[in-house]
């Protein structure tokens, strides 16, 4: 009885403490949303903690969209979808070849592909820029997609190789006896089994591409090509002093897709994230 009451008190104190800490922790997000809903002068002259109920966010959203974040969002959606899905397809093929077709020196081929994600990105930048300018794909959507696809392949191959190692061999033998080709086995047997890892890898890579700043800065320049992060930073440099709330609104808009993906996936993310951050960290 006494022990139970004590336990209850402890829990209540714990909850209250946690609520206070978490509220403070999340307050910058609250600040972001509240101030994205102010006019420029309300923000610059007023109390930053004040909540103003109004509809300034609509105005700010339209301004933010037109001043650059709109192009950025559209571009990054293209890069995210194309880059991530192509990377997943190529990695799926490669992992299938290495594991299920029992490639000679399979591990070495895997390590060759995987080596693409071990080095810091600083090692890629100069030659990529140089080569992109030389062959004329600098500042093109094609150039960025090419780079994002290639850079996402190593991690995707890593995860999908892990998946293929777990699929029982009997399935494949049976299909072989019935006369199925390798491509049919890949498409009809492996693909349905791999739905979960394929989706997970797709979403993790989409998030990484969406959040990338460095490659967008180095390989693109114009508003019609640059991804959402470069667009946001470019806007900040131009308008942050004059019109804070519009930039804050742009920040909200640039953050929604990855937030939604996290809420959808939540804990499934962890495994992938801890492994994936190797090449795709926040540096």
């Amino acid at each position: 009885m006494n022990y139970k009451t004590k336990e209850k008190v402890n829990l209540t104190v714990g909850y209250i403490g946690m609520i206070i800490v978490v509220m403070a922790w999340i307050y910058p997000v609250f600040f972001l949303i509240v101030n994205a809903n102010k006019t420029a002068s309300q923000y610059s002259k007023g109390d930053k903690t004040e909540i103003i109920f109004g509809t300034a966010f609509i105005d700010n959203a339209i301004k933010a969209w037109n001043k650059g974040i709109g192009d950025g969002v559209v571009n990054s959606l293209i890069y995210g979808f194309c880059g991530s899905s192509l990377a997943v397809i190529f990695a799926f093929l490669a992992a299938f070849g290495i594991v299920r077709l029992k490639m000679k020196n399979g591990l070495l081929w895997f390590l060759l592909i995987y080596s693409g994600t071990v080095f810091p990105f600083q090692m890629y930048l100069l030659p990529l820029f140089e080569a992109y300018v030389a062959i004329g794909i600098y500042n093109t959507k094609f150039g960025l997609i090419l780079m994002y696809v290639s850079i996402c392949i190593p991690f995707a191959t890593f995860v999908l190789r892990g998946f293929f190692l777990t699929v029982p061999w009997e399935l494949q033998e049976l299909a072989k006896i019935e006369g199925a080709s390798n491509l049919q086995i890949l498409y009809k047997i492996m693909m349905p089994l791999a739905k979960a890892p394929l989706l997970l890898v797709f979403l993790i890579q989409f998030t990484w591409i969406w959040n990338d700043l460095l490659f967008g800065m180095v390989l693109s320049r114009s508003t019609s090509v640059r991804p959402v992060t470069s667009a946001l930073v470019g806007m900040q440099n131009l308008y942050a002093q004059m019109d804070g709330p519009t930039i804050l609104m742009a920040t909200v808009m640039a953050s929604i897709p990855t937030l939604v993906i996290f809420l959808l996936l939540q804990r499934h993310f962890i495994r992938g994230l801890t492994l994936g951050s190797m090449g795709t960290g926040k540096g």
């Binding site: 600083q122 290639s150 850079i151 460095l214 809420l263």
Partner: protein, 290 residues
């Protein structure tokens, strides 16, 4: 016989991945390494100059600042996110139905470094939220332009980065803590172990592998920190908050001393590879166990 055919076919399956990775990832790595031994400036024919770029990197007093900042970043941006992440995970697992807290704490980690940098640019501004809150609780004399004064700017940025980088560490530790056997903890509690004794003597030794993974991951990411610094200060004022990754970008894409930028990139990689080696080793052994 079927077997041989499969092996040959396999080359077709891996071809797209191998070709793309070789062109976009492996070729640049080799090229950067070669470049770092030249005086390439993007215009004139490059000459081989041996280790001159590397020597310059260590002797030029201008580059003491980025090296010093990078060390500060590497230490603090590892210690804070990992330890705060652990504290969050440790407290959360005592509270039943605390999934909601977990999601809220993780939200900053879903935002890009660019977006978080822009947000903290506003918060740490001279007339921003942080100074206002300081004044509100009676510390107005501490008010300053947090991102425009060294060394405050480096520490402020590490604070903002910690806010973002803690979530992933919390998640790693939650996985570790949930996998712990309950008996040793119960036994220790019955023996009267409480609070910090329990944490340092029982819990931390038991989840040591997760500490190693989280710390190495944090080291890898903080040593090559670029996005946060670039967005909040661009390495300024002057070069007072520059880190090596920013130096590399500045030398390569603004000053066009490509050879020197390549040498900085190689230096970042060498240190990064050491961290990565131990990281992969600990992750892969973990995988085999589970």
């Amino acid at each position: 016989m079927n077997f041989n055919k499969d092996t040959n076919q396999a080359y077709l399956y891996i071809a797209p991945a191998v070709i793309l990775v070789s062109l976009i990832c492996i070729y640049p790595i080799i090229r950067t390494l070669i470049m770092s031994f030249t005086d390439n400036d993007g215009l004139n024919p490059a000459n081989f100059i041996g280790f001159d770029n590397y020597i310059k990197l260590f002797l030029d007093p201008n580059y003491i600042i980025p090296i010093k900042n990078t060390i500060i970043w590497t230490v603090l941006a590892t210690v804070f996110p990992v330890s705060i992440g652990f504290l969050f995970a440790y407290s959360i697992q005592f509270l039943p139905r605390s999934n909601f807290f977990q999601i809220l704490i993780y939200i900053p980690a879903t935002v890009s470094a660019a977006a978080a940098g822009v947000l903290f640019g506003f918060i740490l501004d001279k007339s921003g939220l942080f100074n206002q809150v300081l004044a509100l609780i009676g510390f107005e004399h501490l008010n300053r332009d947090w991102l425009f004064r060294a060394p405050e700017n480096t520490y402020s940025m590490i604070g903002a980065y910690t806010w973002q980088a803690t979530g992933i560490n919390m998640m790693i530790f939650l996985v570790g803590l949930q996998g712990l056997p309950k008996e040793p903890m119960e036994a220790a509690k019955i023996d009267g172990a409480k609070g910090f004794t329990l944490i340092f003597k029982i819990v931390i030794p038991m989840i040591m592998p997760y500490f190693v993974i989280a710390s190495l991951l944090a080291l890898i990411n903080s040593f090559r920190i670029f996005d946060s610094v670039w967005v909040m200060t661009m390495g300024g004022p002057g070069r007072y908050s520059e880190t090596l990754a920013v130096t590399m970008y500045r030398e390569g894409f603004i000053i066009f001393d490509l050879g020197y930028a390549a040498a900085v990139a190689v230096l970042i990689s060498l240190v990064g590879l050491v961290f990565s080696y131990y990281y992969l080793k600990s992750v892969l052994t973990k995988e085999d166990v589970s």
